[in-house]
Symmetry: C2
Subunit: 112 residues, 2 copies
Amino acid sequence: MNRDLIHESLAKKVKNKMLSDDLLFDVAEVFKIFGDSTRIKIIYALKLSELCVSDIAFITNSSESAISHQLRILKQAKLVKSRKDGKIVYYSLKDEHVIKLFEIGREHALEL
Amino acid sequence: MNRDLIHESLAKKVKNKMLSDDLLFDVAEVFKIFGDSTRIKIIYALKLSELCVSDIAFITNSSESAISHQLRILKQAKLVKSRKDGKIVYYSLKDEHVIKLFEIGREHALEL
DNA sequence: CCTTCATTTGAATACCCGTTCATATATTCA
DNA sequence: TGAATATATGAACGGGTATTCAAATGAAGG
């Protein structure tokens, strides 16, 4: 780690302009949530409609347990919200921001 | 997996409207690339300037080997491009799309 | 050529994380 | 209250992946 810098002036300038490690970590965390097939499927399904756990399990061909675990993660990340009606818990996307992120990722995926 | 559907009609409708597993998988893959602190740091640094491997290692406090590995991943994902000048390889972001995705993730991270 | 230096590569390690399975909680209804 | 059902939870297992370390590649300069 104690070498000569190849472009000392430039590298130090860029290093000074870097965002904080904390913020960059948080940004990575947001993307990490979207970076799983099951969660992306859930997000897209919820983009189409409010749904309960077993609906989502059916739609995504996953177990209810797996979906429940993933919904907890999505909820902790404040990407989805839930309401309870009797035995059934209905999940939906928390805001338009989530949809925006999804759409841009989708555009990019299509460009490959 | 062979239960009664709670909201059969709705669930089947949503399932029919789902994007293909392949596409949703690809979308998740894109986000997965962004979902790592080191790679996000690299992306942000390259947003500020074209840089070589050892510059990036200095800026991100990582080893050159680790950066090189991550740059390969970023290049395979078509998020960065490179040009060679003698011994030195200069990396830069491939297009504005990458910046757009980063910025939206950043906005979302700030909203927590 | 031989050395130096920037980068790459491969194998090994260690860690993270998604799923499964079994069980628990909670709510409805008989 | 007791059975049935929807969801949640916790532990454990397995697969994936980021980093490290050692070594290889490739280019410049003496």
